[in-house]
Symmetry: C2
Subunit: 326 residues, 2 copies
């Protein structure tokens, strides 16, 4: 839970963009561990007896995620809990989500909450207050969930991102806007050709599709908000499964952190995802969820205790990215 | 909390589309009361002392929303809690949201949870399990939140709607897909011209923009799923603030319920929103949030106890829609 910087003479806070750069440089890798717990895939020692109540599933998720956080906190800079898997378990799942975020923060990890939220006006502001640091009107001056960053959906229009960006400007929090997602059907809207948006950006070609148009808007927002290492708190989600688009997106958004899902289980390879990074290894974080948290299901790690499987899979991913980047 | 119909010989359930038609015909209006509580706008008798903790705000939201539900349950067919305002208060807010949904259901109201969720693959399935009736794998066979319908965001692609539609087919639940939202910037993506999607629908012009392309996909899904009154459980969100587009959308999606936000506070008029309805007054539900729940702030109702203001504002909206429709 991070107090916001709203007083005119308060000590300036470090931006999320710079905090992420610092964390990646300190840990010497850009791996993000995705916390996507699912009851049927939990290790036997943690899985509740089936059928399991919502409460016992939530309790198992808590044990599982806290152990993973403890196992990877010295290795990686950031974790990404997926809100859906906690919402699936109702209010008790949400309580566990809050505890997991708090524990990860205490262990020195940055936390990106993957909620893909998006709405208009005061509703967008409520989501921003919930996750990005300033709390509700008339209440505490910290956010209830205390994430460091949130994924958001731009479908409702760039105006709907303003409340989120305002929170990022006034606190240590950040934003990852969906630009190109990793699923097979992502092109239906995202690859739609645009030819009449009237956007022109100096030094680059006009956007040819919706994803590029969003990317150009994000770069415009990011450009004026960079920290010493050149990246801002306004980032983008770009899937690993479309490598050519990933390279193009890196070029279109030189000041935006890219959050790259789709590595491993979804088919993205190390050689693909390093296209999102600059020469220093900054500019992109690469998420793996199932490949790490359910490593005990992988024949390669099957002989190990599940938590050692998690740690070894994390180390192997770090090494794979390092090799591909060098 | 509604058990799902998964056994081959189980009694067939009524679809959400038909349940909504029945409710609108029974209540003789299509008003949806939006539950968007905000601490600073609560009536004085309910507003906690400021600054108020998250817990005391959540408790005030519960009192406020339960009283509203009791005041309108004999008048309107449906309510729509906005997830963001409960998420803003953290886990305790989510607990209150669950209680509100349960109470509304007990009072005979249909509940559309406005969460605008959207994600890919197993994550979309988790959101569907959470809100639309079948519960998590390995757990209970009912959803943790027990809503009757959910708003969803199609930006990630039509493939990402499949898990939601599957839940609707197997239970009494429904879906409202964002098609055209009511905010000023909604056109950035939604109005983008399309000319190469290769979609052609018999008897109508090809889609000219993203919103129309989504609408045609929704109609294709809705067409095969209609109940006796002609509407399916797959609906669409179309804002009241773009009346010409609302008429066009009604024509493009003859079998989809439209959820129309933007009435009242956002500027949509009764004459505009009735364009979404058929001759029987079916086919569209019209949401008002602030105009009803914060009616005590309106000079017209200011002399009344706040809960009477809520009831009178609801009755006035019902009458305005009835006059405009006749």
């Amino acid at each position: 839970m991070k107090p916001t910087d709203t007083q005119p003479n308060a000590t300036p806070v470090a931006s999320f963009g710079q905090r992420l750069a610092d964390a990646v440089l300190q840990k010497k890798n850009a791996v993000c561990v995705g916390l996507d717990p699912r009851t049927l895939s939990l290790p036997e020692t943690i899985r509740p007896k089936l059928p399991a109540s919502l409460e016992s599933q939530a309790s198992a998720f808590e044990t599982f995620c806290l152990k993973i956080i403890d196992a990877v906190s010295d290795l990686v800079p950031v974790i990404k809990p997926q809100a859906a898997f906690f919402e699936e378990l109702g209010p008790e799942g949400m309580r566990v989500l809050a505890r997991i975020i708090r524990h990860a923060t205490q262990q020195g990890l940055l936390v990106i909450l993957d909620g893909k939220r998006g709405d208009i006006g005061t509703t967008a502001a409520a989501y921003a207050n919930a996750f990005l640091g300033s709390g509700p009107e008339g209440g505490p001056t910290y956010s209830a969930w205390g994430a460091d960053a949130l994924t958001v959906n731009p479908f409702l229009g760039m105006d709907t991102l303003e409340p989120f960006i305002q929170r990022c400007d006034n606190s240590e929090t950040g934003l990852f806007v969906l630009v190109k997602t990793s699923n097979p059907g992502s092109g239906f809207i995202q690859d739609t050709t645009v030819n009449d948006l009237g956007i022109s950006s100096p030094g680059k070609s006009p956007p040819s599709n919706i994803s590029e148009a969003i990317a150009d808007e994000i770069q415009a927002l990011a450009h004026g908000r960079i920290g010493p290492d050149g990246y801002s708190s306004v980032g983008a989600v770009v899937g690993a499964t479309y490598p050519a688009q990933l390279s193009a997106m890196r070029e279109r958004m030189p000041n935006a952190w890219l959050l790259i899902p789709g590595y491993g289980a979804q088919g993205g390879a190390a050689a693909d995802v390093v296209r999102g990074m600059d020469g220093r290894g900054l500019g992109a974080i690469v998420n793996s969820s199932r490949g790490i948290i359910f490593a005990h299901e992988n024949p390669k790690y099957k002989s190990l205790p599940w938590i050692d499987a998690v740690r070894n899979a994390t180390l192997d991913m770090i090494e794979a990215l390092r090799t591909a980047h060098s």
